[in-house]
């Protein structure tokens, strides 16, 4: 039995659509059932449903053998995992954004302080970061910071709040990650699953 940690929310919907595109009905039905259960078992695969930032933690510890997670999570923190493959969904990007008339950026609000810090350091920009856990668009609107670093998918949230993108930092995609030990000890089951879903 292998355990696959899935990210709840939008990435989960994208994953089930991906399974549908790849004609894998054996997984779609159990995964699509409305339930409050935090896991489901299909044949030899146990799927667990977790919050995105927790998926690499489950995989790193070996509680899960495989994880499906946004690359935003694994570029923000360091995890001792195999970063096996980009998946063809979950596309969005990190951007610097703010009000249209904003001058020099001296303060930035973000949930992703490591990504932002690295970006501004490489740009040789002296910027102070303010960590927020969500709704970072509020920060420039309320005068807390000059701008934000955040994930942008359609741009509608920025637009609805009167903000614009200044610069794209990097692309984000869904990624398949794997535990460094069970990749060997459960080799046959892992390869079977990865082949089924089109990674190999």
């Amino acid at each position: 039995m292998i355990t696959v940690a899935l990210t709840k929310g939008r990435l989960f919907k994208d994953f089930t659509a991906y399974l549908e595109d790849n004609d894998l009905p054996q997984y779609i039905k159990p995964l699509s059932e409305e339930t409050r259960s935090l896991y489901t078992v299909v044949d030899n695969v146990k799927f667990i449903f977790a919050k995105g930032p927790d998926v690499p933690t489950y995989v790193e510890s070996g509680v899960a053998d495989i994880g499906i997670v946004g690359s935003d999570i694994i570029v923000e923190d360091v995890f001792n995992i195999l970063n096996v493959s980009q998946l063809p969904f979950g596309d969005c990007h990190f951007s610097v954004a703010g009000l249209p008339e904003q001058g020099e950026l001296k303060t930035i609000a973000t949930k992703y302080t490591n990504v932002a810090s690295k970006y501004f350091r490489e740009k040789k920009m002296d910027v102070s970061l303010v960590h927020l856990n969500g709704s970072v668009e509020l920060a420039p609107l309320l005068g807390l910071t000059d701008g934000i670093v955040d994930i942008v998918q359609t741009g509608n949230t920025l637009k609805d709040n009167g903000l614009i993108e200044y610069e794209k930092i990097m692309d984000i995609h869904a990624r398949l990650i794997a535990n460094k030990r069970t990749f060997y000890t459960k080799e046959d089951e892992i390869y079977k699953f990865l082949t089924e879903i089109g990674v190999f």
């Binding site: 070996g62 995992i81 493959s85 980009q86 030990r181 060997y184 390869y191 190999f200």
Partner: protein, 267 residues
């Protein structure tokens, strides 16, 4: 912690150190507080360091480093050492047992790995599932043969299959290797570098351990979490997610084997 776990660990340590004594290893026990050299920090980031009388000191976090420092500071008559005792990493205590071989020949290494496998096989009803090995020099051979940029190393280390495909293309021998099952890699690498010295040792080890009937995996992505290993490296797994044995070459002419007495599946 259960009494039986503590008793079993101590009993195992007693049997193991008796084995080492019988096989002419010099047993070592040392103070847990020891001098620390700041240049070691990179290889031992979880070591607790403090200062006393203008000298940096640390709490032992790795027997290999402790023994290496001991070996560099004193004239020793032995080349094979054995140990058992606690180490502290971050705020946690772990129990390590193992051996260090200084200036070993190939036969010394093979014999020591075999001795460990044979001893621990007798201590469990489980059987060995897999031995995973690598030597970073194999990737260097690919880089040299196919004139690759050294940036490819990071992609191999993290087994980033999608990026390797993008950078090298689907048909490149290194892509073919990395998309094959890990247990098939050894045959593919043998076809590329059959006569290399590095592979010679790995093949020799494979045949040496055939009687244990475990899966032999060579994977170019496989690396030690301890960055001081700089040559051949291996781990042996019981039916468990964490390795029971880990070891490899370091410092260009030393070889160590560590036994995982915390979560290797033995106790």
């Amino acid at each position: 912690m259960e009494n039986t776990l503590i008793i079993n660990r101590l009993k195992l340590a007693q049997d193991y150190t008796a084995l080492l004594d019988h096989e002419n290893y010099q047993l070592v026990d040392m103070n847990m507080v020891e001098p620390f050299y700041i240049e070691d920090k990179e290889h031992h980031p979880s070591t607790i360091i403090f200062e006393r009388n203008e000298q940096l000191m640390s709490i032992r976090s790795d027997w290999t480093r402790s023994l290496l420092n001991y070996n560099e500071n004193y004239q020793l008559n032995h080349r094979h050492f054995g140990y058992f005792g606690p180490v502290v990493r971050g705020y946690e205590t772990f129990y390590q047992a193992g051996v260090e071989l200084y200036g070993p020949g190939e036969e010394d290494i093979l014999k020591s790995i075999d001795m460990h496998l044979s001893f621990f096989q007798s201590k469990t009803a489980d059987r060995y599932r897999a031995i995973v090995v690598n030597n970073d020099e194999l990737l260097d051979l690919y880089i040299e043969k196919y004139n690759l940029d050294s940036n490819i190393k990071e992609l191999i280390y993290e087994k980033n299959i999608s990026e390797i495909r993008k950078v090298l293309g689907e048909e490149h021998p290194l892509t073919v290797l990395m998309t094959a099952k890990v247990s098939d890699q050894i045959e593919i690498i043998n076809n590329e570098f059959e006569n290399s010295e590095v592979l010679g040792f790995i093949n020799h080890l494979k045949s040496y351990l055939e009687d244990y009937n475990m899966k032999f995996i060579l994977d170019l992505s496989f690396r030690s979490p301890q960055s001081y290993y700089n040559g051949f490296y291996f781990q042996v797994f019981l039916n468990h997610d964490y390795p029971l044995l880990s070891g490899g070459e370091y410092n260009s002419n030393a070889f160590g084997i560590a036994v995982n007495l915390s979560n290797g599946g033995l106790l």
